[in-house]
Symmetry: C2
C-alpha cells in the first residue's frame, strides 16, 4: 500500500483537469423520500466518454507522457483490452495525448461499441472472447509494438484517476456518512476508499456488486477466493461483469472498504435504472442502476447510522433502458389504437 496514497490522487486531480469534466451532484426529493435518507448522486454518466473511466485512463496516459519527457524517451503507443467503457476511455485519452492506441476487443463485440472506440481514432484488434484471450492478445501487442499497457483496474495510476471522484464529491458534499460504489475489478472503489479515508475517515465506503461475485466472503476471509481462470459473471451490468477483483485492488478493499456488501440482481438494477430515468431524468448504465437500487431500497435497513450517502452513477453507456418502447406505424405515427 506504500505505493499508493491520496497524494497520487491529488496529483491526478491536477493532471487530468484539462481532459475530464467536474461532474455535477444530483439530488431528488422523491428518491430521498423513498430511501428514507439524503442521497447525493455523483453523475459520472455525464463524464467525457460517458463513464468515470476517462479519469483513470487520462491519468495513466498523461503520467506516462510526463515520465517519458523526463527520461527523454518516446512513448510508442498505448494498448488496452476492453470492449467497453475502459476501451473508449483509453482511446480518448490517447487521442488527447496524441499517441497511437490499440484496443483489444472480443470478436463478438457489438458494432456500436467498436464504432465508439474507433470514434476516438484507436485501432481495434479482435481476440478470442474470454478474459484470458484478451490478456494474451494485449500482451502480444505490448511486446511487438512496445506499446504501454493501461490495465482496466490493477494499476495505481488508473486507481488514482478514479479516486478523484471522491476528492470532488467530498468538496461538493463534505458531510457524507457513506458512499456506495459499484464494483467490477475494484479500481474505482480502491481509489475512492483511499481518498475518503485520508480526508474523512469516518465516512464508510460500501461496494455494490452483481449476484455471483461473492465479494463479501472474500473480504471476510481476506483472501481472493475466486475460481481461476478469471470468469465473467452472467449479468446485464456489462461494465462490472469481471468476477475477480485485482491483485493490487483487493488488499486495499480488505483494509478500507466495509465488509458488508450490497448484492443486486439484474431485475433490481433495472429498477434502479428506471428510478434514475423517471425521477432524475438521467440515463445510467446497469452498474449505476445497482448503486441506485441499493441506496434507495437496501441502505437504510443495513446501516441505520447513515443519514447522508453519496452514490456513484459510474456511467451512462447503455444499449437499453427499462422503459416501455413506443411502437409506431409505417408513417412514423402513433397507431390510432393508442
Amino acid at each position: 500500500m506504500e505505493l499508493f496514497s491520496v497524494k497520487l490522487i491529488e496529483q491526478a486531480m491536477i493532471r487530468i483537469a484539462p481532459w475530464v469534466h467536474r461532474t455535477p451532484v444530483l439530488t431528488s426529493v422523491s428518491l430521498d423520500r423513498s430511501a428514507g435518507l439524503d442521497l447525493f448522486f455523483k453523475a459520472e454518466n455525464f463524464q467525457k466518454t460517458g463513464s468515470f473511466k476517462a479519469r483513470g485512463a487520462s491519468n495513466a496516459v498523461f503520467r506516462l507522457l510526463e515520465q517519458s519527457k523526463v527520461k527523454n524517451v518516446a512513448v510508442p503507443g498505448i494498448v488496452t483490452h476492453s470492449s467497453g467503457n475502459h476501451g473508449q476511455a483509453v482511446a480518448y485519452a490517447a487521442k488527447c495525448a496524441g499517441l497511437p492506441c490499440c484496443v483489444v476487443v472480443p470478436s463478438d463485440t457489438p458494432d456500436i461499441k467498436c464504432q465508439a472506440i474507433q470514434g476516438y481514432e484507436a485501432e481495434l484488434v479482435h481476440c478470442y472472447p474470454s478474459p484470458t484471450g484478451r490478456k494474451e492478445t494485449a500482451a502480444q501487442i505490448e511486446q511487438d509494438k512496445r506499446y504501454h499497457l493501461v490495465h482496466p483496474f490493477d494499476d495505481y495510476a488508473v486507481m488514482a484517476g478514479q479516486g478523484t471522484i471522491a476528492l470532488e464529491l467530498l468538496q461538493q458534499v463534505p458531510d457524507l456518512d457513506a458512499i456506495l460504489v459499484p464494483i467490477g475489478g475494484g479500481g474505482m472503489i480502491a481509489g475512492i476508499a483511499v481518498a475518503v479515508k485520508a480526508i474523512k475517515p469516518e465516512c464508510k465506503v460500501y461496494a455494490v456488486e452483481p449476484i455471483g461475485k461473492d465479494l463479501g466472503p472474500c473480504l471476510a476471509a481476506k483472501a481472493r477466493g475466486w475460481p481461476d481462470p478469471p470468469q465473467f459473471l452472467h449479468t446485464i451490468a456489462d461494465s462490472i461483469r469481471t468476477q475477480q477483483t485485482g491483485h493490487l485492488t483487493f488488499p486495499i478493499l480488505c483494509s478500507l472498504v466495509e465488509s458488508g456488501v450490497f448484492t443486486v440482481s439484474d431485475h433490481q438494477m433495472l429498477e434502479g435504472m428506471s428510478l434514475a430515468l423517471t425521477r432524475m431524468k438521467v440515463v445510467v448504465e446497469a452498474a449505476s442502476g445497482a448503486a441506485v437500487f441499493a441506496a434507495v431500497h437496501q441502505l437504510k435497513e443495513v446501516d441505520q447510522s447513515v443519514k447522508r450517502a453519496g452514490v456513484i452513477l459510474c456511467g451512462g453507456n447503455t444499449g437499453f433502458t427499462p422503459l416501455p418502447q413506443m411502437k409506431l406505424d409505417n408513417n412514423g405515427l402513433l397507431p390510432e389504437a393508442q
Copy 2:
C-alpha cells in the same frame, strides 16, 4: 400587448424563485459536430414536476395569492384542465401555496398520469376526452366552487412564468443568435420571445412544431386559420398536441417569432430523444426531442447566420424511450443467447 411585457417576466423571476429550479445548460461536443454549430440545451427536464410548466403555474398561483392578500379576500382554490405537465405543475404550485386544487383530466387518462397529479394532493375530476369537454368541466368547477382557473397558456401570468426560461438562459449564455422552442398553445414561446426581444433583440426565436399544426401559414397570414372546434394533433408529442395557439399568445407570435417554422415528424422526434439519451445521457420528452432534432439536423440549412443556438428541453416526462428494450428471463437474468 400592453398588458404583457418583460417587466412581468422579471417580477415572475423573483416570485417563483423559491419554488422552481434554476436549470442547468447542457452542451455536447458530439452534437455540436453533428449540427455544425454550437448548441446550448436549457434542461427544463430537470425542472420541478419534470417540465417548464412549473414556472408558469407557480407564477400564476402565487400572483393570485399576493393579489388576494392585497384585497384581503381568500382564494378558495385553483382549477385547471390538463392530464399532463400543466396539470402536475398546477397541482404542485397549489400545494406549495397551501391551496385546494382540482385538475380536470380526460376519462381515458393513463393511471400513471393520474397518480402523478394526485401525488401533489390535487383532486382529480374526469371529463369527456375532448378539448371542449375539458373546458366545460373546468368552467363548471370555477362556477360551483369559485376556484380560480389557471389556463395552460392563454394567461399573461402563465406566459410570464415561462418567459423566465429566457431570462435565465441569456444570463447563462449571453451571446445566442437564436433559440428553438417547441410549441403547443404558445405560452412558452410567447414568454420567451417577449423576454428575448427586450434583452437581446437580434436573437431570433424559432418555433418547432409537430406535423399537422401548420403554424407557418397562420403566421404568414397573421390569422388563426385553424379549424374549430379546437383539435388535438395525432403525434407522440403529447405535451404539444393542441393544434391551435391561443388568442393571447398568437398576436405575440406574429410580431416576435420568426415566420420560418421547424416542422418535425414523430420519427424525427424519436431520433431527437435518442440523441439526447445517447449523447447527453438525459431523458427528454418527445416535444423536446423535436427541438433537438431541428437544432441538429435542420437549423444550419435553414439559417446559416446562426452560429450559437439555444434549445429548450421543455420536459422529461415520458412513458417511453426510443432505445431498444432488454428482455430478461424469468429469473431476471439476461438470456444465455445474448
